[in-house]
């Protein structure tokens, strides 16, 4: 078990190195001159060359990569040209904001999806099942930006109950918690719709298994059958998918963050990419890959805990 985790961590480290190199090379090969970017279109070529030398960009690629990695390992990811700050300062701040939004959303999404998925799937084609089914497919098929704009129109413009943006400062007169309501709602509605149908389908499959019949014919009540025999089995399949949502919540929230002007990680990546802010893109990619691999490991371990048939 420990050996397995150790081996996975080692694999993670190797993968991260590989990814860092690929991203570094990719950025190296994209057209556009960093110094030119910084100085603007009207700078003289002399000045650009001078800055290039100053930034050390004229040295060979491998030297710069080794130097970059050496600094990265100590937490220094270089200087952002858009934010005019060290990357680390911007990124950890943004990552913290996003993790906050992700955690709150995740804490809502998971119980909601399991509850409704199980309730719907335990009696296939019951009225509740049909209702949940329609509701979840509607939720999952409305794009985030549409739902965001819709909720903004209702709660901000019309009812004036909630703030329209979430800059995470109280300068606008809204308490911080109230700024979370709408972004979390949009993420939850979109994502839970998808997860509910995953859990429901798995529950439906489990309820058709012979061991459920065994349990019923033991003389158990339906409630006992569902809680003792069906639920754990029904969560095995959706478990990985549930964890995959963490990846989405960390790096896929661009739309929601943009709609609500939320200072998050996704929006930072988008802005950096548009502005060719290579230092941020590189560091951000590493973080995103790290998160993905971490959830994968957590998924494997959780899988093993849920299903005794899987052992290492």
């Amino acid at each position: 078990m420990l050996r397995y985790v150790g081996r996975q961590l080692l694999n993670m480290a190797i993968t991260l190195f590989a990814v860092s190199f690929l991203v570094f090379m990719l950025n190296e090969l994209t057209p556009g001159d960093v110094a030119r970017k910084v100085l603007g279109p009207y700078a003289l070529q002399d000045q650009v060359d001078q800055l290039t030398r100053q930034m050390g960009l004229d040295r060979p690629v491998y030297v710069r990569y080794i130097e970059y990695m050496g600094k990265a390992l100590t937490g220094d990811f270089g200087e952002s040209i858009v934010y005019r700050q060290p990357v680390a300062a911007v990124m950890w701040d943004r990552l913290r904001n996003t993790l906050l939004l992700a955690t709150v959303s995740f804490a809502v999404i998971v119980p909601v999806s399991i509850l409704f998925g199980v309730l719907a799937g335990m009696r296939e084609r019951s009225r509740l099942d049909r209702a949940v089914n329609v509701f979840s497919s509607v939720c999952a098929s409305i794009p985030e930006f549409a739902m965001g704009v819709f909720l903004l129109a209702v709660f901000v413009v019309w009812l004036k109950l909630l703030p329209g943006t979430a800059p995470l400062t109280s300068s606008g007169g809204w308490p911080i918690w109230s700024q979370f309501v709408l972004p979390v709602a949009v993420v939850t509605i979109y994502d839970a719709g998808y997860l509910i149908s995953m859990v429901r389908q798995s529950m439906v499959d489990v309820m058709r298994q012979p061991y459920i019949r065994t349990a019923i014919l033991k003389g158990m009540t339906f409630r006992q059958v569902v809680t003792r025999h069906a639920m754990r089995n029904a969560l095995i399949t959706p478990f990985t998918v549930i964890l995959l949502q963490l990846n989405y919540l960390v790096s896929g929230l661009v739309v929601v963050e943009t709609v609500f002007a939320y200072p998050g990680f996704g929006r930072m990546m988008l802005e950096a990419a548009l502005a060719k802010d290579i230092a941020i893109v590189e560091a951000g990619t590493l973080i995103a890959v790290g998160v993905t691999m971490f959830t994968q490991l957590a998924g494997d371990l959780g899988y093993m805990a849920l299903d005794p048939r899987i052992r290492v």
């Binding site: 081996r7 298994q209 012979p210 061991y211 019949r213 065994t214 349990a215 019923i216 014919l217 033991k218 003389g219 158990m220 009540t221 006992q224 003792r228 025999h229 754990r232 089995n233 095995i236 849920l306 299903d307 005794p308 048939r309």
Partner: protein, 681 residues
């Protein structure tokens, strides 16, 4: 109808219908009456689709959605099931009736230790505490003869063998101290030796626990071994019922006779007689017939006697309680078992076409990241010959390596060592994609499950044309004609050419699979359990078809089977395998008569015969096959051998004792005089 107070379960004229959203409801069960007294054992037999399982589920009041009881009453302890409320129903399910299912693996919750699943039964009703429940679970596992119950209780279902799983399911049923045990195909899918052990267990449990049994099976031999009365079900109607002995000795209904005659028997004589399949299949319209539902498939059908009037169950013989539902009951004399026809064993040994010498196949288990796992010895040092125009049967329990040998010959996996010479080509190192087209054409395989071997999106015609084009290089037009001829060879009408596999019956699908294998005019046809997924009636037809093919074209057949009755019926040569080794090999007559390898003897004793007078098997093989990754220095069979002679069995691998062409790998000196064997035949 007299209803004795002592009846545990009683069906009184019960009808069950299936309603769909559109169309009229279909009758699934039609006026079924039977009752099981305390300690009685009633067997229910019939082909699949007859409504056997529906009756079992109805007795638990657990009908699938859409099915309703449209008439009659089901009484348990003289109480009408329909009148019970939810609580009473749960008490009934937990305490009076317990069910044992086919496929024990899927009947157990995979993520719960079996101990917890057992303890749940008494704990549910709150009458005992955890320690009592644990003690009881322990006691029941003991009663079903599971070694080391304490350890087993901590295990998950997937950590048990198939036989252990079924014992756990039986123990779980016994936890309820039921008055009635319903067993729905409890041994289907288990190995013969395990089946014999489970049936033996059921007999003792019936005596020890005094539970009545409703035993549902398509296996007449198993019913004869366990039950004291029997009902034969056809399209939801009982066509014959009565005590076991008269029904088996003098079956009155043509369907019952058909089922018995379709069965290959392990106790049959040495002369082969063709099995008698029941022609045709159950058609949906048969259920709506006013007269005899079996009439469309019945050789004795006379319109004036069988159609247009309801036929009641009438007394069929002097034995009390023996009744049959046949319009020509008095007219049909009790026929003898089918007449002896020629078709005896092919004369002579036949030339050797394929000669396997010292074939071994080892796998490495695990082996992630280059770490070498344990060596799994799927087959070790196998010697056998495939002879022209003869049938070689490889028999053994699952895990014996019989399929591995077939796969190496067919080229599905390469062998590890040894050789298999076919036309001076060694097949062992050659997977199928490295073989010449001619060798590929010459060796073809038919698989166990025709449902999963035919591509569901290809028509029959396409499935047959492909190998004709690929293996024989025919043009499209030629291949189209060829496909038609192939269907004729397997006796299917050419209308089926445009059908998709799901539009065929199981038997038809297996015929198509055989036709596909015949496309390249193979010299060796390997059939891996070709009939074990089929109903007995259909099974007989496929067996006969293979027999005909053997006679009409000089094909050599290799049959992989666990069914000794089938093997006795078909094989000229038999290789008995255990744990990757051939323990006995020779001409069928010699292998199936004394002297035996102790394993062959146990296999023969385990095969159930549909004969109520047959004594229970003398040798019931206990235990399970050791893991093939275990290092065994002595005889592979030593751990289960009922005739073990001493430490030599554990320390020394037995050498092969040979008498003519008959070989036995055993330490016991089985052939005191070489002449004894010959005299026996």
């Amino acid at each position: 109808m007299a209803n004795l107070v002592t009846d545990i379960l009683s069906f009184q004229d019960v009808s069950i219908a299936h309603r769909t959203l559109r169309g009229a409801p279909t009758r699934i069960i039609d006026g079924v009456s039977f009752s099981i007294p305390a300690r009685g054992a009633f067997g229910l037999v019939g082909e699949s689709g007859c409504g056997k399982s529906t009756i079992a589920l109805a007795a638990m009041r657990y009908l699938p959605a859409g099915m309703t009881i449209t008439g009659g009453r089901i009484l348990v302890d003289d109480r009408d099931l329909a009148g019970l409320d939810e609580d009473a129903l749960r008490t009934l399910r937990g305490h009076r009736i317990a069910m044992i299912y086919q496929d024990p693996m899927s009947s157990l919750n995979p993520v719960m230790p079996v101990g917890a699943q057992l303890m749940e039964v008494p704990l549910l009703h709150g009458t005992v505490d955890t320690s009592k429940a644990r003690a009881r679970a322990h006691e029941m596992l003991d009663a079903v003869r599971i070694a080391d119950p304490t350890a087993i209780m901590r295990r998950y279902p997937h950590e048990l063998s198939g036989g252990q799983q079924q014992r756990v399911v039986i123990a779980m049923a016994l936890m309820a101290e039921p008055a009635l045990l319903i067993m729905d195909e409890p041994t289907t899918g288990l190995d013969v030796t395990i089946e014999a052990a489970i049936l033996d267990l059921v007999r003792t449990l019936r005596a020890d626990f005094g539970a009545a049994i409703l035993f549902i099976s398509h296996n007449l031999g198993a019913v004869a071994r366990v039950c004291d009365s029997i009902g034969v079900l056809y399209t939801g109607r009982l066509v014959e019922t009565g005590p076991i002995a008269p029904v088996f000795r003098a079956p009155a209904h043509p369907y019952t006779r058909g089922l018995l005659n379709a069965l290959p028997r392990v106790d049959a004589g040495k002369t082969r007689r063709p099995l008698q399949p029941i022609e045709g299949a159950i058609a949906p319209s048969d259920r709506a017939r006013i007269g005899c539902a079996f009439a469309p498939r019945c050789a004795h059908h006379r319109p004036n006697a069988c159609d247009d009037r309801p036929i009641e169950l009438q007394s069929a013989s002097a034995a009390s309680g023996h009744t049959a539902r046949c319009g020509r009951l008095g007219e049909l004399t009790v026929t003898q078992a089918p007449a002896l026809v020629g078709n005896s064993l092919s004369e002579g040994a036949g030339d050797i076409l394929l000669s396997v010498r010292g074939l071994s196949k080892y796998y490495h288990a695990g082996g992630l990241f280059g770490s070498r796992g344990a060596v799994v010895r799927a087959a070790s040092d196998v010697h056998l010959d495939v002879r022209r125009g003869r049938t070689l049967a490889i028999v053994g329990e699952s895990g014996s390596g019989k399929s591995t040998v077939a796969k190496v010959i067919a080229g599905l996996v390469p062998g590890t060592s040894g050789n298999a010479m076919f036309r001076s080509v060694d097949l062992v190192p050659l997977p199928v994609d490295k073989r010449s087209w001619d060798v590929r054409r010459a060796i073809q395989m038919v698989f166990q499950n025709p449902d999963s071997t035919l591509n569901p999106s290809h028509t029959v015609e396409y499935a047959l044309m492909r190998p004709l084009q690929r293996l024989k290089g025919l043009s499209r037009a030629e291949a189209r004609n060829g496909a038609r001829r192939l269907l004729e060879r397997v006796r299917l009408p050419s209308e089926l050419l445009q059908r998709l596999p799901h539009q065929l019956s199981g038997g038809q699908r297996q015929r198509v699979a055989i036709a596909r294998a015949l496309a390249g005019d193979p010299e060796i046809l390997i059939a891996d359990e070709p009939v074990s997924a089929l109903d007995v009636s259909v099974q007989a037809a496929i067996v006969n078809l293979l027999g005909e093919l053997l006679q009409s074209s000089a094909i050599s057949l290799v049959i992989i089977s666990h069914d000794l009755a089938l093997v006795r019926h078909m094989a000229d040569w038999i290789a008995v395998m255990y744990l990757g080794r051939v323990v006995e090999y020779g001409p069928a007559d010699l292998v199936l008569s004394a002297p035996f390898h102790p394993y062959t003897e146990a296999l023969l004793a385990s095969a159930p015969t549909p004969d109520p007078d047959a004594p229970p098997p003398a040798v019931v093989l206990g235990g399970t096959m050791p893991s093939p990754s275990q290092e065994i220095t002595g005889c592979v069979f030593a751990s289960r051998c009922p005739r073990k002679i001493g430490p030599v069995c554990d320390t020394m691998q037995p050498c092969v004792r040979r008498s003519g062409e008959h070989e036995i790998a055993c330490h016991i000196d089985l052939m005191p005089a070489a002449g004894a064997v010959g005299a026996d035949t």
